[in-house]
């Protein structure tokens, strides 16, 4: 039980640290598509998915830039809070 607790905590802390490091206001880099899932599909399936889902991949890519452009002026104009 203590092991379960320990490893759960370790995982939570790891996640927390990663997120804290990313929380900086200047790190809205829309050109870097975030990779969120460590366990990706096997290579053959991944290639098929990439080919089939090209519209969604493009939509997401544009949305990253779109959202960051909306947030950045807000961030910039509220520097007293974010920077």
């Amino acid at each position: 039980m203590i092991h379960t607790f320990f490893f759960s905590y370790l995982r939570l802390t790891y996640t927390g640290l990663s997120c804290t490091q990313q929380n900086g206001a200047t790190q809205f880099n829309a050109n870097e598509a975030p990779a969120t899932y460590r366990s990706r599909p096997p290579p053959g399936a991944l290639r098929a998915l990439e080919a089939e889902n090209k519209f969604d991949i493009e939509l997401y890519s544009r949305a990253l830039k779109y959202v960051s452009k909306k947030i950045e002026p807000f961030e910039e104009n509220n520097k007293d809070v974010f920077l």
Binding site: A25, L59, K65, N77, N78
Partner: protein
């Protein structure tokens, strides 16, 4: 003993890196200059598939004037009366849902709000948001129903599919992933010549998750599932009603191919109708959270700081939380 020491060390690190809460200032949030208006249209990425597109076709595409603007359809800048969440499966929708429930809870208990000024909260998960939902015979954005705040959220698409596989698809039931299982899962969801798909047909109407769809976001935003008809039970008070034919968990789900035109329609819809497009990978960023909350405060007609500070990074709700009652009260639209 060593475990305990390590635990204490990790606790110390966590507390040292914890973010301070945002200060609430007296002045209004500054949303930035309008000249830097964000757009989805002129910002194509370098995705190879789009580089392959014929230049002439790109040039001739005039998507911005095809759909009516939200301003033309809605009550204008008046405070919002409804919040509509276009949920995207396995893309943080429970988190966004929890966030909005908390906002609604704050709103209804705020002393700045008259008791008669209730807002409604609608969500859609398993159906596609076809154009008939936005305007036309099943209006989401029409003046009689007041101003609607539309929210949706995206996650990196292949991560979303992977999550669907593991948490609702074959990964959940079989517990392994290999090339053949993935290929089978994808193939089973292929449309049949007469409509529907093998997997959906065999699983029946109760099967509402774990299905693979290519270009899921585009489908869910544009109704790329055939010609949808409006259900008969349209609620005159809200303008909402069940939309038949677009539900992804029924045998009747009619597949159509997602085309480039559908993609551009999705771009239009996201840009022109949605007040907030959230990115799952940025849910923990303070500025995204503050922007969302400030936007909601402004559009709800509340002074800055009226709502408690909520963060998307911590809003996942379960059935045992205090929000469970509210969760059941928010109206689902399938």
């Amino acid at each position: 003993m060593s475990c305990i020491i390590l635990l204490l060390f990790l606790l110390a690190i966590t507390s040292a890196t914890r973010q301070e809460p945002l200060p609430i200032l007296d002045s209004e949030w500054n949303f930035g200059a309008t000249s830097r208006r964000a757009t989805l249209h002129n910002d194509s990425s370098d995705t190879q598939a789009f580089l392959d597109e014929p230049a002439a076709r790109k040039k001739n595409y005039q998507s911005k004037n095809i759909l009516p603007t939200k301003e033309e359809l809605t009550a204008g800048p008046a405070p919002i009366k409804r919040i509509f969440l276009r949920r995207m499966r396995k893309a943080g929708s429970t988190t966004v849902f929890g966030f909005l429930l908390a906002i609604m809870k704050d709103y209804s208990s705020s002393p700045a709000v008259a008791r008669s000024s209730n807002i409604t909260f609608d969500r859609m998960e398993y159906s596609s948001l076809n154009l008939g939902c936005l305007f036309g015979s099943a209006p989401l954005l029409t003046k009689p129903y007041g101003t609607v705040f539309l929210v949706t959220h995206l996650r990196e698409p292949l991560s979303r599919i992977n999550s669907e596989y593991w948490f609702a698809g074959p990964g959940k039931t079989i517990g392994v992933a290999n090339e053949s299982l993935w290929a089978e899962w994808i193939a089973l969801s292929r449309p049949l010549p007469g409509g529907g798909a093998l997997r959906i047909t065999s699983m029946g109407a109760g099967f509402n998750a774990g299905i693979y769809f290519d270009n899921y976001y585009t489908r869910m935003l544009t109704g790329a599932c055939g010609n949808c008809a409006v259900g008969k039970k349209l609620d005159p008070a809200t303008g909402f009603g069940p939309v038949t034919g677009c539900s992804s968990h029924t045998k009747a789900f009619p597949f159509v191919n997602v085309t480039r035109e559908k993609f551009y329609t999705a771009v239009d819809i996201l840009e022109h109708y949605f007040d907030a497009v959230l990115i799952l990978e940025w849910f923990r960023r303070p500025s995204l959270n503050a922007w969302l909350q400030a936007t909601l405060e402004r559009q709800l007609g509340l002074p800055r700081g009226s709502l408690k500070r909520h963060t998307l990074g911590h809003m996942r709700i379960g059935s045992n939380t205090a929000n469970a009652k509210l969760k059941t009260e928010a109206s689902p639209i399938y």
